[in-house]
Amino acid sequence: MKAFSKMTGRVAPLDRANVDTDQIIPKQFLKSIKRTGFGDNLFDAWRFLDEGSMEKSPNERQINFNFVLNQERYQGTSILLTRSNFGCGSSREHAVWALLEYGFECVIAPSFADIFYNNCFKNGLLPIVLEEKYIEEMFTEMKRIESLGDGQVYSLMVDLPGQCVTKPDGSPISFEIKPDNKTTMLEGLDEIGTTLRMQPAIKAFEKRHKAAQPWLFS
């Protein structure tokens, strides 16, 4: 997995709570047996007016120009700012793959659903939880900057080691992250490799487990 340390990126605002993984990547794209190819269909039912399928190429699609990610100013953004309970619903890791492949490296929200949050750390997509008031501030500041119409962009600096997000005016907001998740991201750990190094402990556990619950081993 790719390690994550610091990044600076432009922000796209997705002003909606409870964005479920069915919206992030709809079911028809889960027919793929590959880990790649999902970026073109991120938020498919919102980005396009016609119904998408695995056979259709993005060039043949009817673009929904009202959807935020289709607006000119949000092209090339790498941070997604959104509302509470992002990633609820299905466990599909394809949702994380689609966000990464589209170009997002970080998602900032007041809260995330458990399985999605966990899947992020397996792939190097950083989910940052910030208090509602900071999220609100950022949405407001983005709107203000955009209304100036002078091409100014809203960028954030994300510093995982320092657990800090720095806003365009230089003001820092610190964030909480569990030390175990932080380490996994910073080191881009191969979790399977790490667990396999515990082979003796797993074998010893199996021996104890078999003695305690032999029916699980017969």
Binding site: A45, E191, E206
Partner: protein, 475 residues
């Protein structure tokens, strides 16, 4: 010396009994007893194994069946019956991976094939006290057996295949205590929908939920599975119900359940799988089942639920801006107006199936409602999709299929079907369904489709009238 009293929750007990150790990062390493696989979330995991030159750690813990992407017609044609080449490749890939690695599979031709969360319990592959995982969020279903059952992502599927372990942090303990007695025509589905209305879809985030109280104890295993199935819709990765006689009676004599002396040994351990009286919970919620009427969802989130006699709320009825916006979005997407009575709403399709409600009991209730009657002319399609080949066989032995067919329902082959519409069973844009499944998200049952989540009884009654209908008149 006096014995130290234990004050562990059921979740604490199962967690402690499976703790292998810790990574340096601080994450816990939990041993996994049962890994269920299906065609959609496993191909990339197997590919990862191959690329790293790894083998499954303990083959016999794994069992696979195709469910999400299989057609529900023409099953006798097997793989040849899958018309969509992309879907077919995914099912074939599961076949190939199971053959290559030696993993047992109930394949498309096997009578035991079905929705993975129906099949596991039915076969006795899910046992009390186990840790169970599957690359599907509705794995929470298996918690009905007092098993710690969680949905996992594809990277974790690969991790469990390679190491028989899952790396995670321990959740908090949440208890949902439900007293009272369900009234006639009110079911486990109504109960869990009412719970989610109260908790919201994020209320259980970071928690394992234990459901308890007299209303839960009174439920059959099938009904308990319906409750735990939707724990994930309350935000909890796992739901749990303590082991009792109902659990033991269900598990006994299942094909993969322990037999003879091992059965007795297992039972004496399983009987300890209850929360201790002094156990403390981080969060508690109480509900009275007696007060419930049949429930129906009206929005695009499983928390947007109402009693059948209530009026559709308006956004202003909700307290937070987030919820107000969700309600407003929902009304627009669903084509509904605040203040409307839900029983005025006309339907296009009816779906009875899914890992929530496709077990034999669900089909029996639906058959009782429709027996000797006809689906409304307005209904374009009414599907009955049994949860497994064995559920289908049992229903046919009881003559339920004849009741359904005579009433105008289509009697289908097992699979996930219109719950998520990966196969050809789906809503067309703006079509409206009542569905016994678990999610009413935008587009879940088909692009721009509109879903109302209901119990099998309400789905059946609504099929007869063409409108969302209180099933109590038909029972």
């Amino acid at each position: 010396m006096s014995k130290v009293l234990s004050n562990k929750t059921l979740y604490d007990k199962i967690w402690d009994a499976h703790l292998v150790g810790q990574h340096d990062s601080g994450h816990s390493v939990l041993y996994i007893d049962r890994h269920l696989l299906h065609e959609v979330t496993s191909p990339q995991a197997f590919e990862g194994l191959v690329q790293a030159g790894r083998r499954p750690w303990r083959l016999e813990c794994n069992i696979a069946t195709p469910d999400h992407n299989v057609p529900t017609v023409d099953r006798q044609s097997g793989l040849q019956g899958i018309e969509d080449p992309i879907s077919k490749l995914q099912v074939v890939t599961l076949d190939d991976n199971c053959k290559t690695f030696g993993i047992e599979q109930f394949d498309i031709n096997d009578i035991r094939q079905g929705i993975v969360h129906v099949v596991g319990p039915e076969q006795g592959l899910t046992l009390p006290g186990m840790t169970v995982v599957c690359g599907d969020s509705h794995t929470s279903t298996h918690g009905a057996f007092g098993a710690l059952a969680q949905g996992i992502g594809t990277s974790e599927v690969e991790h469990v295949l390679a190491t028989q372990c899952l790396v995670q942090s321990k959740s908090k303990n949440m208890r949902i205590f439900i007293d009272g007695q369900l009234g006639k025509g009110v079911y486990a589905k109504d109960l869990i929908m009412a719970v989610i209305r109260q908790t919201g879809t994020a209320g259980g985030t970071g928690c394992t939920i234990e459901f308890c109280g007299s209303a839960i104890e009174a439920l059959s295993m099938e009904a308990r599975m319906t409750v735990c199935n939707m724990a994930i819709e309350a935000g909890a990765r796992a739901g749990l119900i303590a082991v009792d006689e109902v659990t033991l009676n269900y598990v006994k004599n299942r094909p993969y359940a322990p037999k003879g002396e091992q059965w007795n040994q297992a039972v004496s351990y399983w009987q300890s799988l209850v929360s201790d009286p002094g156990a403390s919970f981080d969060q508690e919620i109480t509900l009275n089942a007696s007060e419930l009427e049949p429930q129906v969802s009206w929005g695009t989130s499983p928390e947007l639920v109402m009693g059948i006699s209530e009026k559709i709320p308006e956004p202003g009825d909700f307290s937070s801006p987030d919820k107000q916006e969700l309600a407003a979005h929902s009304l627009a997407y669903m084509g509904l107006s605040a203040g409307q009575s839900i029983s005025e709403v006309s339907l296009d399709r009816v779906f009875i199936g899914s890992c929530t409600n496709a077990r034999i009991e669900d089909l029996r209730v639906a058959a009782e409602v429709v027996k000797g009657q006809q689906t409304s002319k307005q209904i374009k399609q009414a599907l009955i999709v049994p949860g497994s080949g064995l559920v289908r066989q049992q229903a046919e032995a009881e003559g339920l299929h004849e009741i359904f067919k005579a009433a105008g329902f289509e009697w289908r082959d097992p699979g996930c079907s219109m719950c998520l519409a990966m196969n050809d069973d789906r809503l067309l844009p703006k079509e409206r369904s009542v569905s016994t499944s678990n999610r009413n998200f935008e587009g879940r049952q088909g692009h721009l489709g509109r879903t109302h989540l209901v119990s099998p009884a309400m789905a059946a009654a609504s099929a007869l009238t063409g409108k969302i209908t209180d099933p109590r008149k038909y029972l």
